[in-house]
Amino acid sequence: MVDLLEYEGKSIFKEYGIPVPDFKVVSDEKDIQDFNEKMVIKAQVPTGGRGKRGGVRIVNNKEEAIRAMNEIKNINFDGYKADKFILEKAYEIKKELYISVTLDRSVEMPVVLASAEGGVDINSVPQEKIYKKPINPFIGVTEYTKRELSKFLGLSEYDAQEIGRILVSLYNIYDKLDASLVEINPLGLTNNGLIALDSKITIEDDALFRHKEMPIRYFGLDEIEIEAKKKGLAFVKLEGDIGIIANGAGLNMATIDLIAQAGGRPANFFDLGGTDDPEKVIQAIELASKVTNKVLFINIFGGVTRCDTVARGVVKAINELKPKFKLVVRIRGANEEEGRKILLENGIDSMLNLDDAVDRVIKLAGE
């Protein structure tokens, strides 16, 4: 997922006709010109709750803006520091609303979510205060949906027209940019209409091949996770000491669960995926080594990935890397006999039964 920063999202909003404040992106003192009105300066960070941490401040002139910016630069936002800021007019807001378009997995279609209680986490708003309506992608936003929406939000006739246009734009962004979330929170209701005071746009990873213009973001990822992601591998760092390599996401999660249930502490999730290249196995072991302290557990159910391929990779990796941790290999499925033989010939014992393998891992980790 690519989370766009506020200013990136607002630029897209503008392009799609959603009203946003005139904003300037600043990162340095020299970017800030003289002014003499109520403005707001906002840290551009991909985290929630930046306001509570002091990342959003009202400023009345250049000096205040520079001071605020320099102060915010020192704030730690969940491990992230702001180096870009939005400087924009501070609006008189009568009311803060919420609106977004996102995938609803349950109805398997995009939905519009909206609430007259904006400016807070939508998950904290009670269901009955949220307008929720699927948008059929073959039809798009209907006129009657616009009417329902503005009625639900209690808008005036003037604002009703505007919220209708905004909804169409949000859906167009969702659709054209393959977004998984397009959110305005808060959507400010002013005396002169509606205005998007913040933006959140998340682009789906799988669709990035269609959106080469999108930035690649690794926010919230550990260094090793970034390394894996760059290689196109699915790796999630956990807090434990038992490294895990399995093929397939479900088997991986199940392996983690089994280890944890038995009292072990898994160090990672790592899907080897389907491969018939021993080099991939070596790469994987190399990566997993970086999080493994005690035992590396390789759990393979062979299908697309054959057991002999894995065995060859394991043998080579162990010989090359000469790891200090212990190794438990469990292989089942396609070519399991050949795999076991290859491992045994190289002095590596392998197991067939999953429960037995887990017991062994726990035992070795406790030694």
Binding site: R105, D206, V236, A249, L354
Partner: protein
Amino acid sequence: MAIIVTEKGLPVIVQGITGHQGSFHASQMKAFGTNVVGGVTPGKGGTSINGIPVFDSVKDAVKETGAKASVVFVPAPYAPDAVIEAIDSGIKLVVIITEHIPFHDMTKLKLYAKLMGARLVGPNGPGITSVGIAKLGIMPNSIFKPGPIGVVSRSGTLTYEIVNTISEAGLGETTVIGIGGDQVVGTTMQEAVKMFQQDEATKAIVVVGEIGGTAEEETAEIIKNEVNKPVVAFIAGRYAPPGKRMGHAGAIITGNKGTAQSKIQAFQEAGVMVASKPSEIPVLLRQKLASV
């Protein structure tokens, strides 16, 4: 006797047959006993792969072979069009193996399939196998055994692990369907469970779920109201951290939604036994089947 794939000899084509995966699994399917009548790769029409004729288009393949089902191995950027081509050519069952298809495309494909009266299975899953009838997909041929258990799963290899366990325990399967690990899938867990309930040969159902979404909770609701066959569930991801995508696009806990705990609780409330490890599944199945 099975669900979805119920006709022995069902004529099947493989879209993307000249690719690495397509050609390997076409042969594997044939070895299983599937009636693989052709393959499709644009521009490769007239050639053949392991004795299977290759066509330029699904239309040609259907015309020449009478194909009724298709298994799609086409890469993600081209897969949606391949699925539409299959549907437009009259194919009523399209099994999509391809991973990384954007969910935006799947949303539309699913609606289009509904409009045209076609069924999709997948994407990003191992396909579907009806034991003794046909395999459409990539599950290993060796794990199956004829028997009374219907298996529906969001996973690939974990399914093999569990099916293997069931077979080794002396039970066996009617149909094993991997619905795929994405956010939007062609055939849902809910539908599969309803079909297993209707299927006479299926005496008990195994549901393999994982974190993310609410399919398991909705399935539990259906089981409570509409299913009287024994159901055993397994949920992967009990120890997965929130906010992290665990390999599958669909396997993510967002906020407090989609946790394993929520799913396990929903199943238990619906009277479903939830296994704590794969090897427990056949044990619970035997208990349940004995008490029916």
